[in-house]
């Protein structure tokens, strides 16, 4: 039996070249979904195979990789993907948003501002923002080609008519570079403004759906809204219980079975740095006992 031997960052160079071509095309047409010949990866579809392929294609030996899931470096899937690249590419890994050159994420954009030269790689389950309005790919591609986005505005309007608000809390659609309506992946809409005019390159990989799209640095990204119902970020009533952050996305932790709750930063690196800098919330929590790696 042939013993498998794997290339740097797992994928063979031919596959990487194919993915890089798709990435370049995606950067050239911001927000446009570029089909690519996604491979079966050694983790299941839905676990971030698109993001993993994009990361594998762009990773170099000197890169420093950070992987987060739900904002945290310490969630099981983030650990699994970080270990995968530590093993197959031997690259340095970090939990620091600032130190990383490549950040692969699922469901969040880090709180700390990204800087030029960084790449944020999103894992995308359903790349098509119009999918739940029109299940057919042949139709949605035509709608994008004609920039025919009326259906999406009707959906948002119907939300307002029924609920008084646009009832989309995550994967909130955006328009990129005043042309393509794009799905930001299932990040909470709280994160949407961070995509606008971002200094870092943002790449989106959808493995099962075989699509790659991109937002080049300093690109205009607008969350869809109406003049009389402008886009608003979800606001938390309380600051982070650990670091006191007022402007961060919080996780709700159920502390007991009688309604006890506490709210803490979802971005663990952001929270730990604030605590290390002396910021305190109302709860005096012990620092995280186990670091994500090392």
């Amino acid at each position: 039996m042939s013993t498998p031997a794997y290339n740097f960052a797992y994928l063979d160079e031919q596959t990487k070249r194919m993915i890089r071509r798709a990435i370049l095309k995606a950067i050239a047409i911001p927000g446009y979904q570029v089909p690519f010949a996604s491979r079966e990866m050694p983790m299941p579809y839905g676990w971030g195979t698109g993001g993993v392929q994009v990361t594998a294609a762009i990773l170099g030996p000197n890169d420093v990789l950070k992987v987060i899931d739900q904002g945290s470096d310490d969630t099981t899937n983030a650990i699994s993907i970080r270990k995968f690249f530590a093993k197959t590419a031997g690259v340095a890994t970090t939990t620091s948003t600032t130190d990383a050159t490549v950040i692969q994420t699922r469901h969040r954009i880090p709180e700390a501002p990204l800087h030029a030269g960084q790449v944020l790689v999103y894992q995308v389950p359903i790349p098509e923002p119009l999918r739940f309005l029109e299940p057919r790919e042949t139709e949605t591609r035509r709608m994008h080609a004609l920039a025919e986005y009326g259906l999406m505005h009707v959906k948002l309007y119907e939300d307002i008519a029924r609920f008084g608000h646009i009832a989309t809390a995550y994967a909130y659609p955006v328009k990129v570079n005043a042309r393509y309506v794009m799905d930001p992946s299932p990040t909470p809409k709280f994160d949407n403004p961070k995509m606008d005019n971002c200094a870092a390159l943002q790449l989106f990989g959808a493995g099962r759906e075989k699509r790659i799209y991109a937002i080049p640095p300093y690109t205009k990204v607008v969350s869809l809204d109406f003049e009389d119902h402008p886009f608003t970020r979800y606001r938390f009533d309380a600051p982070c219980a650990l670091c006191g952050a007022e402007e961060a996305y919080l996780d709700e932790i159920v502390t007991d079975d009688s309604g006890g709750r506490m709210f803490v930063c979802s971005d663990t690196d952001f929270c730990e740095r604030r605590q290390a800098a002396g910021h305190r919330g109302l709860e005096s929590a012990a620092p995280h006992k186990e670091r994500a790696h090392g």
Partner: protein
């Protein structure tokens, strides 16, 4: 107090260790070998090779063992390995007309050149649990005869000679063969990609889709023209020497369905084709595939597309069990960030609703 789940790294390691232990089962019982799986769970290995798109009995057996008998997981293992292999090119089309048949039946003719050969089939067994198999049991050796091997022409070729069935579509022999593992699928897809998709498709999904056409959802009046199982030679055109070089024999199952007539005032009526092909002995799979292939030709044959099995996007987008199981099972991953966002929205909507009700209790009653 901070109770969020931490320590994921150690948890994963321990879970994998436990998994390996559970896979092994009771350590007092001898470990199952790859050759035992390959020889005695033949049809499981065939399915893993077919849907894994890799003809390698040993690797497929390893996958079945590693996956603890979960065939979709085994298919996934094989696919992930296959994705890392370099692709040299495409073989010449295999000639199933020259198959060394072990089983060959036709439901459309009582007898035909080459005969009806039952071969190793469950078909006429009584499904009674066999107590003999609870212990080691050596069955009788199979019956043999000296019958010389004769050509077994395909039923569709016999029908085709008189023009009773539409000819197989002729493709440009120099045209590149489509490969959806190397080029992303786009719709409408050509039949080569459709057949590739169906050959890799989940057997259960195809079975249900094919079954639905028999129950009226895209009915196409099928007859099992022929099912043949056996070994075919695989040849690869070596550019250096300028001719096709045999690579070896592989076991395959082919099903050709003969389906309802087409024809019009200006076109001679004839039967239509549905095609199924898979590695190993995969009879249920190839029959289902042939039904679905025929259903998916609705557009081409000018039929109205009304049923799911006739809908190319629906069938092809949902037929792959590795994709399907991944996306269904990914719901196990944490989603608490999005859930939090929805929770916030829901609380806001409920609060506003309660405020409106408090402000004007009569209005709500009136509504």
């Amino acid at each position: 107090m901070y109770v969020a789940v931490k320590g994921g790294e150690r948890a994963i390691e321990n879970a994998h260790r436990l998994l390996a232990h559970e896979r092994r089962g009771d350590r007092d019982i001898p470990e199952i070998s790859l050759s035992q799986i390959s020889e005695q769970l033949t049809l499981a290995v065939d399915r893993v090779m077919s849907e894994g798109s890799l003809y390698d009995r040993e690797l497929a057996s390893l996958a079945v063992k590693q996956a603890r008998g979960d065939l979709i997981e085994a298919i996934f293992l094989v696919r992930a390995f296959r994705a890392t292999l370099p692709r040299f090119g495409a073989t010449e089309p295999v000639d199933t007309g020259k198959m060394m048949v072990r089983r060959r039946i036709s439901s459309t003719f009582k007898d035909l050149p080459g005969g009806q050969i039952l071969g190793p089939t469950f078909d006429y067994t009584h499904r009674l649990l066999d107590p003999q198999l609870t212990e080691e049991f050596l069955p009788e050796l199979p019956a043999t005869s000296d019958a010389p091997w004769a050509a077994t022409p395909r039923v569709t070729d016999i029908l085709g000679r008189d023009g009773l069935i539409e000819p197989s579509p002729q493709t440009d022999p120099d045209a590149a063969v489509g490969d959806l593992t190397r080029e992303p699928l786009s719709f409408p897809a050509d039949r080569d990609l459709r057949l590739q998709n169906l050959a890799r498709a989940d057997e259960g999904f195809l079975l249900a889709m094919g079954y639905s056409t028999q129950r009226g959802y895209g009915r196409n009046h099928p007859f099992a023209g022929e099912i043949r199982i056996g070994d075919v030679e695989v040849e690869f055109l070596a550019e250096d020497v300028g001719f096709a070089v045999p690579l070896g024999m592989i076991a395959m199952t082919e099903c050709q369905m003969v389906n309802q007539l087409k024809g019009s005032a200006t076109e001679t009526p004839c039967f239509t084709r549905g095609y199924g092909l898979a590695f190993g002995q995969s009879e249920r799979k190839t029959m289902s595939m042939a039904l679905v292939d025929r259903a998916l030709r609705a557009n081409e044959l000018g039929e109205e597309v009304l049923a799911p099995a006739q809908d190319e996007e629906f069938v092809m987008s949902h037929s792959d069990n590795v994709q399907a199981t991944g996306f269904v099972e990914h719901l196990k991953l944490p989603h608490y960030v999005d859930f939090q966002s929805e929770l916030g929205l829901l609380r806001k909507l409920r609060k506003e609703f309660a405020e409106r009700a408090d402000a004007d209790p009569l209005q709500e009653a009136a509504e």
